[in-house]
Symmetry: D2
Subunit: 252 residues, 4 copies
């Protein structure tokens, strides 16, 4: 099982989350690429920190929307979106190279992440961008999403993820962030959910049932105050359950 978290989400003077602490725990780092967050100096520093720890670097590509942190759907033309994803992949690739590392996978951020679950045109744009930039990159996204279906058809390596701290509906969908009870903050409960995801391939839902999930990675959110503590609790619980933690890509 892989643990992934968002890092590098500051911009200039503004910081966001404790990247170092998270990078000590996770196995994959989703690095913001400058469109929804992430300035070049931060991107480079984060790539070096990740490389030093053997953490896989992923491009956390998003809509061009610093003011909205990439959390607002933008009804973009697919051709423009494709070009913007290629631009972000290249930009992070440059920063990673500057740090002696390289990008290994792609994960859409925020509203783009949600859009490519169902919006086939935007999902196709992201897949085409990856294929034309570097078809050896893995694609990390929601299991069952259009993104992963189209990526698979394009013969890209796909990786489904589950959310440790987000509530699931009985049909396997995520409960909207704005709904009450959508975020699970109790560390023990989050850790326990992770063990079930990893060991049994199921995730608990809000009505007490559970649904199957084919997750190869678990997403830990980095912008909550206790993010790194939560991540550590998960790591410890998975270790105690003898579940091996490592990134889904081969590191070079």
């Amino acid at each position: 099982m892989d643990l992934n978290a968002d890092v590098g989400e500051g911009f200039g003077k503004w910081t966001c989350g404790d990247d170092r602490a998270l990078l000590d725990v996770v196995t994959s780092a989703n690095v913001a690429c400058g469109f929804h967050a992430g300035d070049p100096a931060t991107m480079r520093d984060v790539c070096r920190l990740a490389a030093d720890r053997g953490v896989a670097i992923g491009a956390h590509v998003g809509y061009r929307d610093l003011a909205g942190f990439g959390r607002r759907f933008i009804d973009m033309e697919p051709a423009v979106l494709r070009a913007e994803v290629v631009y972000q992949l290249g930009a992070l690739g440059g920063c990673a190279r500057g740090a002696g590392a390289s990008v290994r996978y792609v994960k859409p951020h925020g509203a783009l992440y949600n859009a490519v679950v169902n919006n086939a045109a935007q999902a196709a744009a992201v897949v085409e961008a990856i294929a034309e930039y570097d078809s050896s990159l893995a694609v990390l996204g929601l299991a069952g999403s259009q993104l992963l279906a189209l990526a698979q058809r394009a013969e890209l390596r796909t990786v489904g993820e589950a959310f440790a701290d987000r509530a699931y509906a009985p049909d396997g969908r995520l409960i909207s962030r704005s709904a009450p009870g959508s975020m699970i903050s109790n560390a023990a409960r989050v850790a326990e959910r992770c063990v079930r995801i990893a060991a049994e391939g199921v995730v608990d839902t809000v009505d007490g049932s559970c649904v199957p999930t084919r997750a190869e990675s678990i997403c830990v959110h980095g912008d909550t105050p206790n993010a790194s503590r939560l991540a550590r609790a998960i790591r410890t619980a998975l270790g105690e359950a003898n579940i091996d933690l490592r990134t889904f890509v081969e590191q070079v």
Copy 2:
């Protein structure tokens, strides 16, 4: 001799210059990288147009200043500038790869171009960025600039350029753009100057004298209404003088 021009200087709906016409004439294309101009879709299209014509692609890196078109000095910390240059190199590299091409050289734009003539700290930042991103890239700049001196010391390939349509002072410096008579618009005169630069290694100055210049490339400006016509006149004049036009980098 090489002819270079700025292309891809639009942004979204806004266009700037006639890229196609210029790319039919020049041998090297300075492509804006999104910081002073250049959106990803335009960057990709321009890279493809350049590749189709065998025109070398250069990264026209600039300050992060869309509102000022990169023409205003920004007193940046060198470490931040270095990271921003790496980011731009990677971003254009991605767009070029998407178009089946690759970046071959770097040329600073606008106020950054002027800054790195004398500002050693910013010049060093640009050189370090290039060295850490890809030390096989050539550096195109003003002959005699700090930029080229430091690039040479870093064992990068350096290329000095002269300006066909800018007036020179007797000491070899460029007359400021805002001074009267600083821009030469007469096509025949511009073409004649180019032939002297290429054949004799000298450029005419405002007082009627001439100064030596070790230019391997001549810059043609792309944002004047008759830019491509001027470029064509230069190309014709150089051809008639039996001066071979080709890019300074080996094309792959």
Copy 3:
């Protein structure tokens, strides 16, 4: 009848349309406020040009999206949209004051214009912004839109507009810009349509029928190459039909 057009849609070095020529013809000027286009120096200059000609100044408020020219729907929180509209109103108000003039009305731009036809939450946000900033401002929008309905309920002065150069469906809706035949470029036909709108209160549709329209203003697009020529043809035709052209707001 009033004629309105978009002006001030450049940004920094990039220009868009011939503002002077348009301002010589129209009676109301929709001035971009910096979010989808419009830099402060341009905004101030345009306000002065409008004031000199007795043309009413309107705030052309849009989504924060320079890269997309405000033409892409952004799924914003209404409270954020409201604040952003207030910000734009104040900013243009400042520029107008600097030019000795004042803002008299508000018209949403691009994707926001389309959104507030049906999206009640975003329409309400725009109306609340206007009411809290200056309830003496008129609201210019599509006749029959949510925007005008909510503005009327808030006791704001509302003004419906028709489009001279856009094709209408038989149900009175605009044909999408991307559909073939959606833009009417023949000047004589556009002028004739305007006379019917003004004199008979009807607009021709694509199937040869016509639908009633309660337009107090006709919108002329400013970003087409022959925009000002078209506007002049309309003005002449309306004059020949003895239709008085003047702004819908009382000028001070």
Copy 4:
């Protein structure tokens, strides 16, 4: 004596400082206007918080530089700077109006603050912007600066300020932020300095001497972790020294 602090310096998701705690202590609030920091929703909220507490609202105008937080000198044309200051004044004016309040003064931020100490062209641009927008606004800046000299000549109300937590050179200049010892963090010492500034009109310098200062306001920095605690210590110390704390502008 007046106490002023910077507030509203977040942007979208990113926050900066504890505005509420500061607004409970200071008498004047320098509100970021969206160019170096400050999104519209934050600006409006901060204006309301300030108005509720009787704190005077000032426009903290800066360079257009979110990535650099306005802390980098930009060599702008004065006419463009003037228009950008007018834009920011209007924008904050709109947000303040939305909160039932109004802007009472102007203080340049960051690198612009430093530039207008000596750069007469940029200082004149700021003064002209204020005069053309609203000549009843006070101008808050460094005592002895070009800004205040030119503002006085333009018959604007000028207010000089001193810094409680910045080290002064024996000639009365501020020691550069990057120099060791330039920031004074000991609360008791900062408070004591303030009392001397207010009661004796002198400020201590790094060599143990003191220089006269004609400050009507003391600036407290808001972006240090203990900013509001420091501000409270100052307020208490001034109260114990029977120094009345109130804004320099008449509140309406």
